[in-house]
Protein backbone atom coordinates (compact mmCIF):
# COMPACT_ATOMS: atom_id res chain seq x y z
CA UNK A 1 0.00 0.00 0.00
CA UNK A 2 1.29 3.47 -0.88
CA UNK A 3 2.24 5.45 2.19
CA UNK A 4 0.63 8.89 2.32
CA UNK A 5 0.97 11.73 4.73
CA UNK A 6 -2.53 12.69 5.66
CA UNK A 7 -4.21 14.58 8.39
CA UNK A 8 -7.35 12.90 9.45
CA UNK A 9 -10.70 14.57 9.13
CA UNK A 10 -11.78 16.48 12.16
CA UNK A 11 -15.11 16.01 13.84
CA UNK A 12 -15.60 19.62 14.78
CA UNK A 13 -13.63 22.79 14.32
CA UNK A 14 -12.06 25.11 11.78
CA UNK A 15 -10.07 24.16 8.69
CA UNK A 16 -8.06 26.87 7.01
CA UNK A 17 -7.12 25.89 3.48
CA UNK A 18 -5.27 27.57 0.61
CA UNK A 19 -2.77 29.29 2.85
CA UNK A 20 0.22 30.55 0.88
CA UNK A 21 2.98 27.95 1.18
CA UNK A 22 5.19 28.52 4.20
CA UNK A 23 2.79 30.86 6.00
CA UNK A 24 0.98 28.36 8.24
CA UNK A 25 3.04 29.23 11.31
CA UNK A 26 2.29 32.90 10.83
CA UNK A 27 -1.41 32.08 10.48
CA UNK A 28 -1.28 30.41 13.89
CA UNK A 29 0.54 33.40 15.31
CA UNK A 30 -2.12 35.80 13.99
CA UNK A 31 -4.83 33.62 15.51
CA UNK A 32 -2.98 33.65 18.82
CA UNK A 33 -2.44 29.90 18.81
CA UNK A 34 0.84 29.00 20.51
CA UNK A 35 2.46 26.62 23.00
CA UNK A 36 -0.01 27.61 25.75
CA UNK A 37 -3.09 27.02 23.63
CA UNK A 38 -5.20 24.00 24.50
CA UNK A 39 -6.77 23.32 21.12
CA UNK A 40 -5.58 20.34 19.13
CA UNK A 41 -3.97 21.81 16.04
CA UNK A 42 -2.63 20.05 12.99
CA UNK A 43 -0.80 21.67 10.18
CA UNK A 44 0.62 20.63 6.85
CA UNK A 45 3.00 22.72 4.83
CA UNK A 46 3.92 22.67 1.15
CA UNK A 47 1.07 20.41 -0.01
CA UNK A 48 0.74 20.27 -3.83
CA UNK A 49 -2.17 22.42 -4.99
CA UNK A 50 -3.76 22.72 -8.41
CA UNK A 51 -4.43 26.43 -8.07
CA UNK A 52 -1.51 27.57 -5.97
CA UNK A 53 1.32 25.19 -6.84
CA UNK A 54 1.97 24.59 -3.14
CA UNK A 55 -0.10 25.50 -0.14
CA UNK A 56 -0.37 25.07 3.63
CA UNK A 57 -3.39 23.84 5.60
CA UNK A 58 -4.23 24.34 9.28
CA UNK A 59 -6.89 22.49 11.25
CA UNK A 60 -8.01 23.62 14.68
CA UNK A 61 -10.14 21.05 16.45
CA UNK A 62 -13.03 21.77 18.74
CA UNK A 63 -13.13 25.47 18.03
CA UNK A 64 -15.12 27.65 15.65
CA UNK A 65 -12.98 30.67 15.08
CA UNK A 66 -14.96 33.88 14.48
CA UNK A 67 -15.09 35.34 10.99
CA UNK A 68 -13.60 38.67 12.06
CA UNK A 69 -10.68 36.85 13.63
CA UNK A 70 -10.20 34.71 10.55
CA UNK A 71 -10.26 37.66 8.18
CA UNK A 72 -7.05 38.88 9.80
CA UNK A 73 -5.35 35.96 8.06
CA UNK A 74 -5.94 37.73 4.74
CA UNK A 75 -3.04 39.94 5.72
CA UNK A 76 -0.61 37.16 4.80
CA UNK A 77 -2.83 34.61 3.06
CA UNK A 78 -5.35 36.56 0.99
CA UNK A 79 -6.57 33.42 -0.82
CA UNK A 80 -7.26 31.36 2.30
CA UNK A 81 -10.58 29.50 2.48
CA UNK A 82 -12.32 28.58 5.69
CA UNK A 83 -14.34 25.45 6.38
CA UNK A 84 -16.28 25.27 9.61
CA UNK A 85 -16.80 21.58 10.39
CA UNK A 86 -19.50 19.92 12.50
CA UNK A 87 -19.93 16.15 12.71
CA UNK A 88 -17.36 15.69 9.98
CA UNK A 89 -19.48 17.80 7.60
CA UNK A 90 -18.74 21.27 6.23
CA UNK A 91 -21.25 23.59 7.88
CA UNK A 92 -20.01 26.80 6.33
CA UNK A 93 -17.38 27.63 3.75
CA UNK A 94 -16.05 31.07 2.91
CA UNK A 95 -13.06 32.99 1.65
CA UNK A 96 -11.27 35.39 3.94
CA UNK A 97 -11.72 39.07 3.12
CA UNK A 98 -9.14 41.69 3.89
CA UNK A 99 -10.31 43.90 6.79
CA UNK A 100 -9.98 47.66 6.30
CA UNK A 101 -8.28 48.15 9.61
CA UNK A 102 -6.32 45.81 11.86
CA UNK A 103 -5.28 46.39 15.41
CA UNK A 104 -2.46 44.87 17.41
CA UNK A 105 -1.09 42.34 14.90
CA UNK A 106 1.63 44.39 13.29
CA UNK A 107 4.17 46.69 14.85
CA UNK A 108 5.12 49.93 13.13
CA UNK A 109 8.64 49.82 11.66
CA UNK A 110 9.04 53.55 12.25
CA UNK A 111 11.08 53.82 15.46
CA UNK A 112 9.88 57.41 15.82
CA UNK A 113 6.19 56.42 15.72
CA UNK A 114 4.11 57.10 18.82
CA UNK A 115 2.92 53.46 18.83
CA UNK A 116 6.48 52.38 19.68
CA UNK A 117 6.50 54.47 22.84
CA UNK A 118 4.88 53.73 26.16
CA UNK A 119 1.32 54.78 25.31
CA UNK A 120 -1.93 52.94 26.12
CA UNK A 121 -2.73 52.13 22.51
CA UNK A 122 -2.35 49.15 20.21
CA UNK A 123 -0.73 49.75 16.85
CA UNK A 124 -3.44 50.21 14.21
CA UNK A 125 -3.08 49.87 10.45
CA UNK A 126 -5.22 50.51 7.41
CA UNK A 127 -4.81 47.56 5.06
CA UNK A 128 -5.38 47.48 1.33
CA UNK A 129 -4.20 45.85 -1.87
CA UNK A 130 -1.59 47.48 -4.06
CA UNK A 131 -0.82 45.61 -7.29
CA UNK A 132 -2.17 42.40 -5.70
CA UNK A 133 0.09 42.78 -2.66
CA UNK A 134 -1.26 43.40 0.79
CA UNK A 135 0.03 46.72 2.11
CA UNK A 136 -0.48 48.19 5.58
CA UNK A 137 -0.31 51.85 6.53
CA UNK A 138 0.14 52.98 10.12
CA UNK A 139 -2.98 54.83 11.26
CA UNK A 140 -0.88 57.06 13.51
CA UNK A 141 2.30 57.96 11.63
CA UNK A 142 1.37 56.99 8.07
CA UNK A 143 4.37 54.67 7.49
CA UNK A 144 3.63 52.11 4.80
CA UNK A 145 4.58 48.44 5.19
CA UNK A 146 5.01 46.45 2.00
CA UNK A 147 6.30 43.21 3.53
CA UNK A 148 3.71 42.73 6.23
CA UNK A 149 4.90 39.30 7.43
CA UNK A 150 8.15 40.85 8.66
CA UNK A 151 6.30 43.00 11.18
CA UNK A 152 3.84 40.57 12.73
CA UNK A 153 4.18 40.52 16.50
Amino acid sequence: MEKKLVISKIKEGTVIDHINAGKALLVLKILGIGPESRERVSMVMNVPSGKMGKKDIVKVEGKFIGEEELNKIALIAPKATINLIKDYEVQKKFKVTLPEMIEGILRCPNGNCITNSREPIAPKFRVFLERDNVVAKCYYCGRKIKEVDRFIV
Partner: protein, 300 residues
Protein backbone atom coordinates in the same frame (compact mmCIF):
# COMPACT_ATOMS: atom_id res chain seq x y z
CA UNK B 1 -21.66 72.19 12.36
CA UNK B 2 -17.88 72.24 12.05
CA UNK B 3 -16.34 70.62 8.99
CA UNK B 4 -13.78 68.90 11.18
CA UNK B 5 -13.32 68.45 14.91
CA UNK B 6 -9.55 67.98 14.90
CA UNK B 7 -6.93 69.02 12.36
CA UNK B 8 -4.23 66.36 12.29
CA UNK B 9 -3.14 65.90 8.67
CA UNK B 10 -3.69 67.73 5.41
CA UNK B 11 -4.73 64.32 4.03
CA UNK B 12 -7.86 64.48 6.20
CA UNK B 13 -9.10 67.50 4.22
CA UNK B 14 -10.80 67.45 0.84
CA UNK B 15 -10.13 70.10 -1.79
CA UNK B 16 -13.46 71.59 -0.85
CA UNK B 17 -12.47 71.79 2.85
CA UNK B 18 -9.21 73.49 1.92
CA UNK B 19 -10.94 76.11 -0.21
CA UNK B 20 -13.43 76.67 2.59
CA UNK B 21 -10.63 77.39 5.09
CA UNK B 22 -8.84 79.72 2.67
CA UNK B 23 -12.08 81.63 2.06
CA UNK B 24 -12.67 81.93 5.80
CA UNK B 25 -9.08 83.13 6.31
CA UNK B 26 -9.76 85.91 3.84
CA UNK B 27 -12.53 87.15 6.16
CA UNK B 28 -10.12 87.23 9.11
CA UNK B 29 -7.39 89.29 7.49
CA UNK B 30 -8.57 92.59 8.92
CA UNK B 31 -8.74 91.17 12.42
CA UNK B 32 -5.27 89.70 11.90
CA UNK B 33 -4.13 93.25 11.11
CA UNK B 34 -5.60 94.58 14.34
CA UNK B 35 -9.35 95.21 13.98
CA UNK B 36 -10.94 94.35 17.31
CA UNK B 37 -12.81 91.09 17.67
CA UNK B 38 -14.31 89.14 20.53
CA UNK B 39 -15.30 86.10 18.55
CA UNK B 40 -13.37 83.74 20.84
CA UNK B 41 -13.88 85.67 24.08
CA UNK B 42 -14.04 83.33 27.05
CA UNK B 43 -12.26 80.56 25.15
CA UNK B 44 -8.93 79.12 26.23
CA UNK B 45 -6.37 77.65 23.86
CA UNK B 46 -3.61 75.42 25.24
CA UNK B 47 -0.34 75.57 23.32
CA UNK B 48 1.19 72.23 24.27
CA UNK B 49 4.72 72.27 22.88
CA UNK B 50 7.01 69.35 23.65
CA UNK B 51 9.58 70.84 21.28
CA UNK B 52 10.57 74.46 20.97
CA UNK B 53 8.93 76.29 18.06
CA UNK B 54 8.67 79.99 18.75
CA UNK B 55 7.33 80.89 15.33
CA UNK B 56 4.36 78.52 15.17
CA UNK B 57 3.50 79.03 18.82
CA UNK B 58 3.53 82.83 18.43
CA UNK B 59 1.35 82.65 15.35
CA UNK B 60 -1.32 80.60 17.16
CA UNK B 61 -1.08 82.89 20.18
CA UNK B 62 -1.55 86.02 18.10
CA UNK B 63 -4.46 84.46 16.21
CA UNK B 64 -6.20 83.48 19.46
CA UNK B 65 -5.58 86.78 21.27
CA UNK B 66 -6.65 88.97 18.38
CA UNK B 67 -9.93 87.04 18.40
CA UNK B 68 -10.39 87.91 22.07
CA UNK B 69 -9.43 84.48 23.40
CA UNK B 70 -6.87 83.47 25.97
CA UNK B 71 -3.81 81.27 25.68
CA UNK B 72 -2.24 78.83 28.07
CA UNK B 73 1.35 78.32 26.94
CA UNK B 74 3.04 75.12 27.95
CA UNK B 75 6.68 75.23 26.92
CA UNK B 76 8.85 72.24 26.06
CA UNK B 77 10.44 72.25 29.50
CA UNK B 78 7.12 72.52 31.31
CA UNK B 79 5.51 69.92 29.09
CA UNK B 80 8.14 67.36 29.96
CA UNK B 81 7.85 68.26 33.62
CA UNK B 82 4.06 67.81 33.54
CA UNK B 83 4.71 64.49 31.93
CA UNK B 84 7.09 63.27 34.70
CA UNK B 85 7.06 59.93 33.03
CA UNK B 86 3.32 59.95 32.42
CA UNK B 87 2.05 59.00 29.00
CA UNK B 88 1.13 61.57 26.36
CA UNK B 89 -2.39 60.16 26.54
CA UNK B 90 -2.65 61.19 30.22
CA UNK B 91 -1.05 64.61 29.69
CA UNK B 92 -3.57 65.34 26.95
CA UNK B 93 -6.46 64.19 29.13
CA UNK B 94 -5.29 66.59 31.85
CA UNK B 95 -4.73 69.59 29.58
CA UNK B 96 -8.06 69.05 27.84
CA UNK B 97 -9.73 69.67 31.21
CA UNK B 98 -8.33 73.23 31.21
CA UNK B 99 -8.78 74.33 27.61
CA UNK B 100 -11.29 74.58 24.77
CA UNK B 101 -8.75 73.39 22.19
CA UNK B 102 -5.18 72.11 22.17
CA UNK B 103 -2.40 72.93 19.73
CA UNK B 104 0.27 70.27 19.98
CA UNK B 105 3.84 69.92 18.78
CA UNK B 106 5.62 66.70 19.69
CA UNK B 107 8.79 64.95 18.47
CA UNK B 108 7.10 61.62 17.70
CA UNK B 109 5.16 60.89 14.51
CA UNK B 110 1.52 60.07 15.07
CA UNK B 111 1.46 61.86 18.44
CA UNK B 112 -1.20 64.36 17.35
CA UNK B 113 -3.46 61.55 16.12
CA UNK B 114 -3.07 59.87 19.50
CA UNK B 115 -3.74 63.15 21.30
CA UNK B 116 -7.00 63.55 19.37
CA UNK B 117 -8.13 60.12 20.58
CA UNK B 118 -7.63 61.01 24.23
CA UNK B 119 -8.57 64.68 24.26
CA UNK B 120 -12.02 65.91 25.25
CA UNK B 121 -11.48 69.04 23.14
CA UNK B 122 -10.34 69.61 19.53
CA UNK B 123 -6.66 69.01 18.75
CA UNK B 124 -4.66 70.91 16.13
CA UNK B 125 -1.38 69.39 14.98
CA UNK B 126 1.47 71.90 14.92
CA UNK B 127 4.05 69.32 13.86
CA UNK B 128 4.58 65.69 14.88
CA UNK B 129 8.21 64.73 14.29
CA UNK B 130 8.86 64.30 10.59
CA UNK B 131 5.12 63.78 10.11
CA UNK B 132 2.52 66.44 9.49
CA UNK B 133 2.17 70.19 9.99
CA UNK B 134 -1.16 70.94 8.30
CA UNK B 135 -1.50 74.60 9.32
CA UNK B 136 1.82 75.33 7.57
CA UNK B 137 0.48 73.72 4.39
CA UNK B 138 -2.72 75.73 4.61
CA UNK B 139 -0.89 79.01 5.09
CA UNK B 140 1.38 78.12 2.16
CA UNK B 141 -1.67 77.52 -0.02
CA UNK B 142 -3.21 80.76 1.21
CA UNK B 143 -0.06 82.70 0.35
CA UNK B 144 0.01 81.17 -3.12
CA UNK B 145 -3.64 82.04 -3.68
CA UNK B 146 -3.18 85.60 -2.40
CA UNK B 147 0.05 86.42 -4.16
CA UNK B 148 -0.18 84.22 -7.25
CA UNK B 149 -2.87 81.71 -8.23
CA UNK B 150 -3.81 78.21 -7.08
CA UNK B 151 -5.34 76.74 -10.22
CA UNK B 152 -2.99 76.03 -13.12
CA UNK B 153 0.03 76.94 -11.03
CA UNK B 154 3.64 76.22 -12.02
CA UNK B 155 5.77 75.87 -8.93
CA UNK B 156 9.35 74.82 -8.22
CA UNK B 157 10.20 73.31 -4.84
CA UNK B 158 13.86 73.69 -4.05
CA UNK B 159 16.25 72.46 -1.36
CA UNK B 160 15.81 69.52 0.99
CA UNK B 161 12.98 67.56 -0.59
CA UNK B 162 13.86 64.35 1.23
CA UNK B 163 13.29 65.31 4.85
CA UNK B 164 11.14 68.44 4.61
CA UNK B 165 7.65 67.64 5.90
CA UNK B 166 6.53 71.06 4.67
CA UNK B 167 7.38 70.08 1.12
CA UNK B 168 5.77 66.65 1.36
CA UNK B 169 2.44 67.99 2.58
CA UNK B 170 2.51 70.86 0.11
CA UNK B 171 3.06 68.53 -2.86
CA UNK B 172 0.07 66.42 -1.82
CA UNK B 173 -2.14 69.47 -1.47
CA UNK B 174 -0.96 71.06 -4.73
CA UNK B 175 -1.81 67.97 -6.75
CA UNK B 176 -5.44 68.59 -5.74
CA UNK B 177 -5.20 71.87 -7.64
CA UNK B 178 -3.55 70.38 -10.75
CA UNK B 179 -0.30 72.23 -10.26
CA UNK B 180 2.76 71.58 -12.41
CA UNK B 181 5.46 70.81 -9.85
CA UNK B 182 9.20 70.98 -10.49
CA UNK B 183 11.55 69.38 -7.98
CA UNK B 184 14.99 70.92 -7.57
CA UNK B 185 17.36 69.33 -5.07
CA UNK B 186 20.83 67.91 -4.55
CA UNK B 187 21.08 64.22 -5.43
CA UNK B 188 21.26 63.15 -1.78
CA UNK B 189 18.16 65.15 -0.83
CA UNK B 190 15.81 64.08 -3.64
CA UNK B 191 12.15 63.44 -2.93
CA UNK B 192 11.81 59.76 -1.93
CA UNK B 193 10.42 57.78 -4.84
CA UNK B 194 7.97 56.00 -2.58
CA UNK B 195 6.39 59.37 -1.90
CA UNK B 196 5.37 59.80 -5.52
CA UNK B 197 3.74 56.36 -5.73
CA UNK B 198 0.02 56.67 -5.98
CA UNK B 199 0.21 60.43 -6.32
CA UNK B 200 -1.74 61.71 -9.31
CA UNK B 201 0.02 64.82 -10.41
CA UNK B 202 2.39 66.46 -12.79
CA UNK B 203 5.62 66.24 -10.78
CA UNK B 204 9.04 66.25 -12.49
CA UNK B 205 12.65 66.86 -11.51
CA UNK B 206 14.29 69.92 -13.05
CA UNK B 207 17.14 72.38 -12.89
CA UNK B 208 16.31 75.89 -11.71
CA UNK B 209 17.92 77.60 -14.71
CA UNK B 210 15.68 75.59 -17.06
CA UNK B 211 12.40 76.53 -15.39
CA UNK B 212 13.04 79.94 -13.81
CA UNK B 213 11.45 81.69 -16.78
CA UNK B 214 8.15 79.84 -16.55
CA UNK B 215 7.40 79.25 -12.86
CA UNK B 216 4.91 81.31 -10.83
CA UNK B 217 6.21 80.26 -7.42
CA UNK B 218 9.66 79.32 -6.16
CA UNK B 219 9.39 77.57 -2.79
CA UNK B 220 12.76 77.37 -1.08
CA UNK B 221 13.57 75.18 1.92
CA UNK B 222 16.60 75.02 4.16
CA UNK B 223 19.36 72.55 3.46
CA UNK B 224 20.51 71.35 6.86
CA UNK B 225 24.16 70.90 7.66
CA UNK B 226 23.54 67.70 9.61
CA UNK B 227 22.34 65.95 6.45
CA UNK B 228 25.89 65.96 5.05
CA UNK B 229 28.91 63.84 5.96
CA UNK B 230 31.21 66.86 6.25
CA UNK B 231 31.25 70.64 6.29
CA UNK B 232 32.93 70.95 2.90
CA UNK B 233 30.34 68.82 1.15
CA UNK B 234 27.60 70.89 2.78
CA UNK B 235 29.13 74.20 1.68
CA UNK B 236 29.49 72.97 -1.87
CA UNK B 237 25.86 71.87 -2.13
CA UNK B 238 24.38 74.76 -0.15
CA UNK B 239 26.30 77.24 -2.31
CA UNK B 240 24.76 75.91 -5.50
CA UNK B 241 21.23 76.08 -4.06
CA UNK B 242 21.28 79.73 -3.14
CA UNK B 243 18.88 82.32 -4.51
CA UNK B 244 20.45 85.64 -5.44
CA UNK B 245 19.16 88.55 -7.55
CA UNK B 246 21.45 87.19 -10.27
CA UNK B 247 19.66 83.83 -10.33
CA UNK B 248 16.35 85.68 -10.71
CA UNK B 249 17.40 87.67 -13.77
CA UNK B 250 15.27 85.58 -16.14
CA UNK B 251 12.37 85.13 -13.75
CA UNK B 252 8.81 86.09 -14.66
CA UNK B 253 7.77 89.55 -13.50
CA UNK B 254 5.20 88.11 -11.11
CA UNK B 255 7.25 85.21 -9.74
CA UNK B 256 6.89 84.92 -5.97
CA UNK B 257 9.47 83.39 -3.65
CA UNK B 258 8.32 81.58 -0.51
CA UNK B 259 10.19 79.99 2.39
CA UNK B 260 8.81 78.36 5.57
CA UNK B 261 11.59 80.09 7.60
CA UNK B 262 13.95 80.20 9.36
CA UNK B 263 16.30 80.72 6.44
CA UNK B 264 20.03 80.42 6.77
CA UNK B 265 21.98 81.03 3.57
CA UNK B 266 19.60 79.81 0.94
CA UNK B 267 18.15 83.23 0.08
CA UNK B 268 20.49 86.20 -0.25
CA UNK B 269 19.15 89.12 1.86
CA UNK B 270 19.44 91.25 -1.29
CA UNK B 271 16.46 89.27 -2.63
CA UNK B 272 14.32 90.63 0.25
CA UNK B 273 14.18 93.99 -1.50
CA UNK B 274 12.84 92.54 -4.75
CA UNK B 275 9.12 92.35 -5.50
CA UNK B 276 9.47 88.57 -5.66
CA UNK B 277 10.12 88.14 -1.93
CA UNK B 278 6.96 86.99 -0.13
CA UNK B 279 8.34 84.96 2.76
CA UNK B 280 7.60 87.58 5.40
CA UNK B 281 4.07 88.09 4.06
CA UNK B 282 3.76 84.32 4.27
CA UNK B 283 4.39 84.63 8.04
CA UNK B 284 1.56 87.13 8.37
CA UNK B 285 -0.85 84.95 6.37
CA UNK B 286 -0.37 82.25 8.99
CA UNK B 287 -2.45 84.35 11.38
CA UNK B 288 -5.75 84.61 9.44
CA UNK B 289 -5.40 80.97 8.39
CA UNK B 290 -5.01 79.88 12.01
CA UNK B 291 -7.93 82.14 12.98
CA UNK B 292 -10.06 80.29 10.44
CA UNK B 293 -9.02 76.96 11.95
CA UNK B 294 -9.43 78.02 15.58
CA UNK B 295 -12.93 79.38 15.02
CA UNK B 296 -13.87 76.31 13.01
CA UNK B 297 -13.02 73.90 15.82
CA UNK B 298 -14.01 76.07 18.79
CA UNK B 299 -17.32 77.59 17.75
CA UNK B 300 -20.50 75.57 17.28
Amino acid sequence: MARFRHLISIDDLSKDDIIYILDRAEEFEEIARGRKSNLLEGKMLANLFFEPSTRTRMSFEVAMKRLGGEVLNVTAQEASSIAKGETLADTVRVVSKYADAIVIRHPLEGSARLAAEFSEVPVINAGDGAGQHPTQTLLDLYTIRKESKLEGLKIALMGDLKYSRTVHSLIKALTLFNAKIYLISPESLRLPEEFLEGLKGDVVEAKLEDVIGEIDVLYVTRIQKERFPDEEEYRKVAGSYRITPEVLRDAKEDLIIMHPLPRVDEIDPAVDRTKHAKYFDQVFYGVPVRMAILTEVMLD
